[in-house]
């Protein structure tokens, strides 16, 4: 099987694979992590609030997102977003939303559901006495959250957040359904064009494996360090 392995096709396509494909994969991962985390934190705070409306909304949102396959959501949002955009800015035509912009919004909204569950656990991991102490020196709810609870919640959950990001990094490959040139998309396009499926998919697998394996290794080390500090 490897006797007529064409290493050159990999070598030739490296710039395309990384400068286009991997750059988009990493961009999507980074943006969805950062904004998903911010949005997820807000949803977690809504979930934990005493307002039935807010927490009801948060629960519904999380359940909805977690009950739909990501591929389906990517597809659905791509088709629906132009109309949602039209409705939001009240234009008389559907708004042009490219596949790239659409996936970025989709992943952010989708990941927010997962990050919100992580941040909820994080917020609940901060002892009640900490909240009391914050209020006792005169902080209000927002200040207690921002200065006392969230920094600790975030720190406690950092390994879990990174683990989720690694999963997200792998999941970004699903954007192939919109023919986007992420890393896997780029490898796939070369594979089809040059008829070198085995080489390209094996190489792509190797790259994903190396990145995720290395990242997981560092997450484990981080986890140990955090458990020592606490």
């Amino acid at each position: 099987m490897f006797s007529n392995f064409d290493y050159d096709v990999i070598w030739r396509s490296l710039p395309y694979l990384f400068q286009q494909g991997m750059v988009f994969t990493l961009t999507l991962t980074a943006i969805a992590t950062v904004f998903g985390l911010i949005l997820g934190t807000l949803i977690a705070m809504m979930r934990l609030s005493s307002s039935a409306v807010l927490s009801g909304f948060a629960v519904s949102y999380v359940n909805l997102m977690r009950s739909l396959p990501l591929v389906l959501v990517i597809f659905l949002f791509y088709f629906l977003m132009p109309y949602v955009g039209q409705w939001i800015i009240r234009s008389d035509q559907p708004v042009q939303v490219g596949a790239y912009a659409s996936t970025i919004v989709t992943f952010t909204l989708f990941e927010a559901a997962y990050f919100s569950e992580i941040m909820r656990a994080g917020i609940q991991s901060v002892p009640r006495g900490q909240v009391m102490a914050g209020y006792a020196i005169g902080l209000n709810y927002r200040e207690v959250m921002r200065r006392v609870v969230l920094p600790q919640a975030f720190r406690n959950m950092l390994p879990v957040i990174f683990t989720q990001t690694i999963v997200l990094f792998q999941d970004t490959s699903l954007v192939y359904v919109l023919s986007i040139t992420d890393f896997l998309g780029a490898a796939s396009k070369v594979a089809q064009r040059d008829g070198r499926l085995t080489e390209m998919y094996l190489f792509a697998a190797l790259v994903y494996f190396l990145i995720c394996f290395t990242a997981s290794f560092f997450v484990k080390r981080l986890q140990k360090r955090i458990s020592i500090i606490r």
Binding site: P127, G129, Q130, M132, A133, G134, Y135, A136, I137, G138, L139, N140, E143, R147, V148, P151, Q152, R155, I229, R230
Partner: protein
């Protein structure tokens, strides 16, 4: 005008469980009042109602003439003027000691970073911990952490201080370093409400002793009367048990 008045205060954690039963007492300016009683009698709850960390369903509580039971918008402002020290210190573990002392000053009182830091260092000196300013709470012993917690309350220039069993989570050899700071505060005329079983402290600096049992203030007496001849059986029983240790 008294510093703290607690009038006919009742509180339920749920409809079946009344944790405070018609509690009434007063703390005058400059007075040190010790609150004692068996575990679960509602001491922590009572002291937390004073700065509205625990809401109450019935009765009225005032601090410095202000009704805290109906207060909403001004609560943070009031709380910043009431120092609170917890059983488990509750320093913010993600902040350095000096940052722990600056947080309330800058955010709540609007002091500049520099002014806050100067004040923080002054208070650390007072509790003898200047050398630890740049450390994190986790690097300090329990006694040191509790002294920092007292300093964190003092930098806010409180008009009175609430202590909830400040020494009961400490190893025995660390209790005195904390009590010493509290005794000094009392001697300076700070108004203090202290939940504690340290009867030595009570005898030394308290003006009055309140004894609670099952959510009720069973006894509220001048120190001499309380230790001399407590009126209630429950207080006598409690005292004999605790003094036997």
């Amino acid at each position: 005008m008294p510093m703290i008045t607690i009038e006919k205060v009742s509180k339920w954690y749920n409809p079946q469980f009344q944790v405070l039963k018609n509690c009434t007492t007063t703390v005058e300016k400059g007075e040190v009042v010790v609150v004692c009683g068996p575990s679960g009698s509602g001491k922590s709850t009572l002291i937390k109602t004073v700065n509205a960390l625990e809401p109450v369903q019935e009765g009225t509580i005032t601090v410095d003439g202000l009704n805290v039971t109906t207060m909403k918008k001004d609560l943070p402002k009031l709380r910043s003027r009431v120092g609170m020290v917890f059983q488990h210190f509750e320093l913010f573990p993600h902040l350095k000691i000096v940052e722990n002392l600056c947080l309330g000053q800058t955010i709540v009182l609007g002091r500049s970073e520099d002014a806050a830091k100067t004040k923080a260092m002054k208070m650390l000196e007072r509790v003898g911990l200047t050398a630890h300013a740049q450390k994190y709470p986790g690097q300090l012993s329990g006694g040191q952490q509790q002294r920092v917690a007292i300093a964190r309350a003092l930098v806010m220039d409180p008009i009175c201080m609430l202590f909830d069993e400040p020494t009961s989570a400490l190893d025995p050899e660390m209790i005195n370093e904390v009590l010493d700071v509290m005794v000094e505060l009392a001697k300076e005329g700070m108004t203090m409400m202290v939940v504690t079983h340290e009867m030595g402290f009570a005898k030394k600096v308290a003006n009055r002793v309140i004894f609670m049992d099952a959510g009720e203030i069973v006894e509220d007496a001048q120190k001499e009367d309380f230790f001399g001849h407590p009126r209630s059986d429950r207080a006598q029983h409690f005292l004999s048990k605790i003094l036997a240790h």
